[in-house]
């Protein structure tokens, strides 16, 4: 499944991020491929907010559509 299909309150594992630049930026934020994060909020048709420890990251819907995840 993709990140866009995640629901609020789910723990998910990031499996694949398509773009090399995005992948590098995600690693810097600590949410690179393989990391387990918490889905904090899903805005209707909008961004998905992920949390890892104290850190919150907002990801646009289009990008979320291209990120592969599994539920954890």
């Amino acid at each position: 499944m993709t990140l866009a299909g995640a629901k609020r309150g789910q723990h998910i594992k990031i499996i694949h991020i398509p773009d090399e630049n995005i992948r590098s930026r995600a690693i810097r934020f600590g949410i690179g491929e393989g990391s387990v994060v918490f889905c904090e909020e899903v805005l209707p048709a909008g961004p998905i907010v992920l949390r890892k420890n104290k850190q919150e990251i907002a990801i646009g819907r289009e990008l979320a559509n291209r990120i592969t995840i599994t539920l954890n």
Partner: protein, 658 residues
């Protein structure tokens, strides 16, 4: 990749002075440390080719340089490029990290350590970490990083005193053995280990400077660094109990549409009341009307009049209607200065509180259709205050494409507070149905132009991928200091541009070109817009300043429909002289000229369309029938454009980076 090929800011370095560079993630508390170390005397200088201000000050005989808050030194946006160049030129880096966000902040720390520059780590906000149940083993952190770590609570000045001398203790940290080998191998071909690191990490700009091929090991290095950071965090941080704070709850409300939209409306209303009503009305009323026009200008005129004839050419240039000593001074000090201070005050408040990234998240969905992501809301909101200031803030956007779209929308369809005041007054006089027509047409133009630019401009826009910092109460002295520094830097830059604008208009007036232009415009205004001939004057004035044009209309006897047509045209018309000069500076001559001409074409096309349609639908006098039909037509045009863009033209998937 962002454009950033310049190599550094020009800072006068005293002899034997060391460059102490402050670096850190956004919201790590860098500015408080910087203010403490440098004291009152701070210089602000523009980074070459950009409008990004870099502050620097003295500490003993050394120079302390601030950098933009970044998550790493790569080339993901302009700010990172600038931070990268300044850090690479450092003798010592003081790296400020947020104790609550070690996982995020230590990534930059490790990257700076890998550059081989001596580092001192300031572990800030330890009080906040304790409050959240985190305890951090500072000694172990020192051992693992190989550089000294000083715990502080910068806002309460705890631990800051020792920083004034502690920079001497900065050391080169531990570098991964395998990476060190590669760096040593590459070092001979570039100037420093830092440059070697960036070349290895695939930084195209640094590689090009040395005629090298950028490396392809970025991801590998990043992953290893991430593992190291996670490992360090796992060892030094122990977590106790914690509870959800008020800040966390409010932060959640701000991004959920059901609570976030009302909160945003309240914030915008407060901003409008403060800047649009209080500053643009009350304060400017005193500074511009009473002090400068009432007292200063007559004094200057009589003074100039004693030396040369006031109606001579030189007299007009100096003290005439658009005089350098009269209009320029009045606008810069009387109008622009209060507005700019008001804006930067509000912007600093929003910046320091952590609300801006949450607004960006909330509105991201709406802006993606216009080829923008949520971050673009920041310049767009600021545009309602001052388009000139807003144009500068487009630097925070991730790609040239987004900057281009945002600046064009700002120049075209966002009325600034000065103009908005006059427009609101005039619309209130003609009735709510006309007001609705005005708002709908402007909104339709914004959506149509944004959507079309998104489809027509080549390239890809970046997608939202942002960190939401914890909410916190802004610190007043920090906000005021930021406001002061930024306002000063802005006025410093805008004043010569304004004087130049005044000079051009005076010349046009003296040579008679101004009247000739008015006559030239007349067929367009009378024939196409169906307005009285004198309105041409208002448009000419509108070139200088947007609200000028609107003010020029107030004194004319116009029918309600003519009022709306002229207001729509003047809103969409060219940005003021100060704005366009800033836009040219940001976007270059060619694009600036295109934007300027584009607004002419769109303003007159749309204004004329409204005039002609209402004439056809209403038979020339029946506005009760004309208005709804014109509104329906514009809604229909918008929908058709949206549908065509969505289904006929191929959708363009974003990539995150250009």
């Amino acid at each position: 990749m962002a454009n950033c090929h310049d190599t550094g800011i020009k800072i006068n370095m005293p002899e034997n002075a060391r460059r102490i560079v402050l670096a850190g993630n956004p919201n790590a508390g860098k500015s408080v440390v910087f203010n403490y170390l440098t004291g009152l005397y701070v210089d602000v200088s523009n980074y070459p080719g950009t409008t990004l201000e870099i502050s620097y000050g003295r500490l003993d005989n050394n120079v302390v340089i601030d950098t933009p808050g970044v998550y790493g030194i790569s080339s993901f946006n302009d700010e990172e490029c600038i931070a990268r160049d300044i850090i690479l030129s450092a003798d010592v880096v003081i790296n400020i990290i947020n104790a609550v966000h070690l996982e995020r902040d230590l990534f930059l720390t490790r990257q700076i350590i890998d550059t081989g520059i001596p580092v001192l780590v300031v572990l800030n906000m330890i009080d906040e970490a304790q409050k959240q149940g985190l305890s951090i083993d500072t000694d172990l952190l020192t051992d693992l990083l190989g550089v000294p770590v000083i715990p502080t609570v910068a806002t309460k000045k705890q631990g800051l005193a020792q920083l004034k001398t502690a920079y001497e203790l900065a050391q080169k940290g531990h570098i991964d053995g395998e990476l060190q080998q590669k760096l040593t191998h590459l070092k001979d071909r570039v100037d420093s280990q830092g440059e070697a690191l960036l070349v290895l990490e695939g930084d195209t700009v640094i590689a090009a400077r040395h005629g090298l091929e950028p490396g392809d090991e970025r991801e590998q290095i990043y992953l290893k660094r991430r593992d190291q950071v996670n490992d360090i965090v796992g060892h030094v941080v122990s977590e106790g109990s914690r509870g959800a704070s008020i800040g966390a709850t409010l932060g959640r409300w701000m991004i959920k549409p059901i609570t976030g939209i009302p909160l945003l409306i309240i914030a915008l209303w407060a901003m409008f009341q403060f800047i649009g009503v209080f500053i643009a009305g009350t304060v400017v009323g005193i500074t511009e009307e009473t002090i400068l026009i009432g007292l200063y200008e007559p004094a200057v005129r009589s003074f100039v009049g004693q030396i040369i004839a006031i109606d001579s050419n030189l007299g007009l240039i100096l003290a005439g209607e658009f005089g350098i000593l009269t209009m320029t001074v009045t606008y810069v000090l009387g109008l622009l200065m209060p507005l700019v201070i008001g804006f930067y005050f509000f912007l600093s408040l929003l910046e320091d509180s952590g609300y801006l990234p949450r607004i960006a998240t909330l509105v991201d969905r709406v802006l993606t259709g216009m080829g923008l992501n949520g971050m673009a809301v920041i310049p767009l909101i600021l545009g309602f205050g001052c388009v000139t200031v807003a144009s500068i803030t487009t630097r925070l956007l991730g790609s040239e494409r987004e900057k281009r779209i945002t600046i064009f929308l700002l120049g075209l369809a966002i009325p600034c507070s000065a103009q908005l005041g006059v427009i609101a007054g005039m619309l209130a006089g003609v009735g709510p149905q006309y007001m609705a027509l005005y708002a709908l047409v402007i909104l339709a133009v914004l959506i149509i132009v944004g959507t079309m630019l998104n489809k027509l401009l080549p390239g890809k826009s970046t997608e939202l991928l942002i960190d939401l910092p914890p909410l916190r109460l802004p610190r007043l002295n920090n906000v005021l200091r930021k406001t002061g520094i930024k306002s000063y830097a802005f006025l410093n830059e805008a004043t010569p541009l304004f004087a130049l604008g005044a000079l051009i208009i005076s010349t046009l007036q003296i040579t008679g070109t101004l009247t000739a232009l008015q006559k030239l415009l007349a067929p367009l205004t009378v024939g196409w817009l169906m307005l009285p001939q004198e309105t041409a004057t208002a448009f000419i004035m509108g070139i200088v300043r947007r609200d000028f044009g609107a003010v020029g209309l107030t004194s004319m006897a116009l029918t309600p429909m003519a009022t709306v047509v002229s207001l729509i045209t003047i809103t969409l018309f060219v940005p003021c002289i100060a704005s366009i000069l800033i836009i040219i500076k940001e976007r270059g001559h060619r694009e600036g000229a295109l934007i300027w001409l584009g607004t002419w074409v769109i303003a007159f096309t749309i204004g004329g369309l409204v005039a002609q349609l209402s004439n056809i639908f209403g038979g020339g006098s029946n506005d009760t029938l004309g208005i709804p039909l014109v509104m329906i037509t514009f809604t229909a045009i918008t929908l058709v454009v949206l549908l065509i863009c969505r289904f006929v033209l191929k959708p363009k998937p974003g990539s995150g980076l250009p």
